[in-house]
Subunit: 303 residues, 2 copies
């Protein structure tokens, strides 16, 4: 089952032809969860061959232009493509203002409903739950209210060993019970331990998104142990004063969060366009956390 | 002296990876005049190597998303690049609403001034004049108020023949007078006719932009004889009913306007994405007006 992250935009406020503004698409099974929506996101989704009809949830980290300017075109295109399914957009109060502007000016003939889920909570907060996934928001530290997101796959029932189904002539009721962890009692009263009947399900996977944010240790407990952490790394060490002034992070600070949170892998992005060579940022991060990688537009990371 | 049109977006409401939404850049001498600003215009300007600092005027035909959604990112990027020069934006009353939203939500720290020139006039109307150029608006026929634009190069003074300057020992005052069309009287009282002293300047060049619009014969007189006419051609002949319903044009209707207006060359664009093969539209237009060409993103047409 898919649990893949596709980077649609790894740039920061000044998009380039190689790095669009922030947008990520997380594929969970056959659905895509869009995180942020910088200008040109719909074009990047097209290049990544991601169907807009597979997106039912958009999570907006904060209301700076490079994270939201693609919403207008995306919402319009969804309508032109005949969407009727509800679209859920999660974000802070400013996102409501942005959407109100869109609805006022551009929603003539709109055939689908947008449900806006306003995040006001400045702690760890469940935003969405379905049979496969839970999504939480948590506060970041930025010049405007900003949120990170944690995507936790739900634990799956154990998988039953195929051979035992025929061996013990298991009914569907038996199978459901065994998958839930119960032992099986045969007609002759023999107790077969659950461990002999099943193999454990894949451990649940997790992804956390933290952008835009200053170095903020409060994040650590919320992203602890995730399989993949995306953390912004706008600046190199030499520019850490600018990072602090603008409430952004250095690559090394991102790595420090990753290390302290014990995550498996760190992806850095939201690079300032002042760096022609990002190897510097990568090296600085890897000094602290070796399992660091640079985000690149249209690359997919299997989690 | 340059008078070149670069197509930044030749698509219609549904942008594709090959055709962005509408935006054109007209280079007049060393300045660029931007016409419409669909999503991703700043990215296309970057690909076309057009510096944002060379743009002082933006003309918006109408307030549909595929003609304006790139304004937000463009205005933000201009600020991030340190712009201080005034930016002039010309468009209908809805453009003011769109810009007000931008100023309210996204203009924190903005270092340059935007002057909005609201077009209310539903006839032929001078929008801008400088030493090289006059720009006029005129009404189109669309579902919302929409305007076309005419860019007329100003007539230049005749060029003086170099040899006569030394032959007659002309002063700067003499030269200015001759360039304005006067004859020259020598010290001995001989009258030298202007035609012997000068060669005519290049004839002034002109470009007209008409999108989005239904077939609208009122346009003809305003675009009469232009060197290059861009006219939208959203649909093929077979879909002319849809064209009428949606206040768009067919390629053949665009060609008919071009023919009746006696323009030199017609460029068609704003193609519906339903046509995989645009040769059909080109053929249909050329039946009426042979000097028709298809607009392609990032191509430049010297006028």
């Amino acid at each position: 089952m898919n649990f893949d992250l596709t980077i649609l935009g790894s740039g920061s406020a000044l998009p380039t032809s190689r790095r669009y503004s922030t947008a990520h698409a997380l594929k969970v099974y056959e659905r895509f969860f869009l995180i942020d929506c910088g200008e040109g996101t719909q074009l990047q989704l097209r290049k990544a061959k991601i169907k807009l009809s597979r997106i039912n949830h958009i999570f907006i980290s904060h209301a700076h232009g490079d994270h939201v300017f693609g919403l207008f075109g995306l919402l319009s295109t969804m309508n032109l493509l005949g969407r009727t399914a509800v679209l859920n957009i999660h974000g802070g109060p400013d996102v409501q203002k942005i959407l109100n502007f869109y609805f006022d000016q551009f929603s003539e003939g709109m055939q689908y409903k947008v449900v806006v889920n306003i995040i006001n909570n400045r702690s760890f907060n469940l935003l969405h739950s379905d049979k496969n996934l839970e999504v939480y928001s948590f506060p970041l530290k930025h010049r405007v209210p900003a949120w990170g997101f944690l995507f936790n796959e739900k634990e799956k029932d154990a998988n039953i060993v195929k051979e035992v189904i025929t061996k013990y002539k298991l009914s569907i009721k038996n199978i459901v019970s065994i998958k839930r962890g119960n032992d099986f009692i045969t007609d002759t009263g023999e107790r077969i331990p659950n461990a002999q009947l099943t193999v454990p399900a894949m451990p649940p996977r997790s992804f956390a998104f933290c952008s835009d944010t200053a170095y903020y240790e409060r994040i650590i407990k919320w992203v602890e142990g995730v399989d993949l952490l995306y953390h912004e790394a706008t600046f190199a060490n030499a520019d850490r004063k600018i990072a602090k002034q603008t409430d952004h992070s250095t690559a090394q600070q991102a790595a420090s969060i990753a290390k302290k949170a014990g995550v498996k892998k760190l992806l850095i992005g939201h690079f300032s366009n002042r760096y022609s060579d990002l190897d510097l940022l990568l090296r600085e991060a890897r000094e602290v956390f070796p399992e660091t990688y640079l985000a690149e537009d249209l690359e997919t990371h299997t989690i």
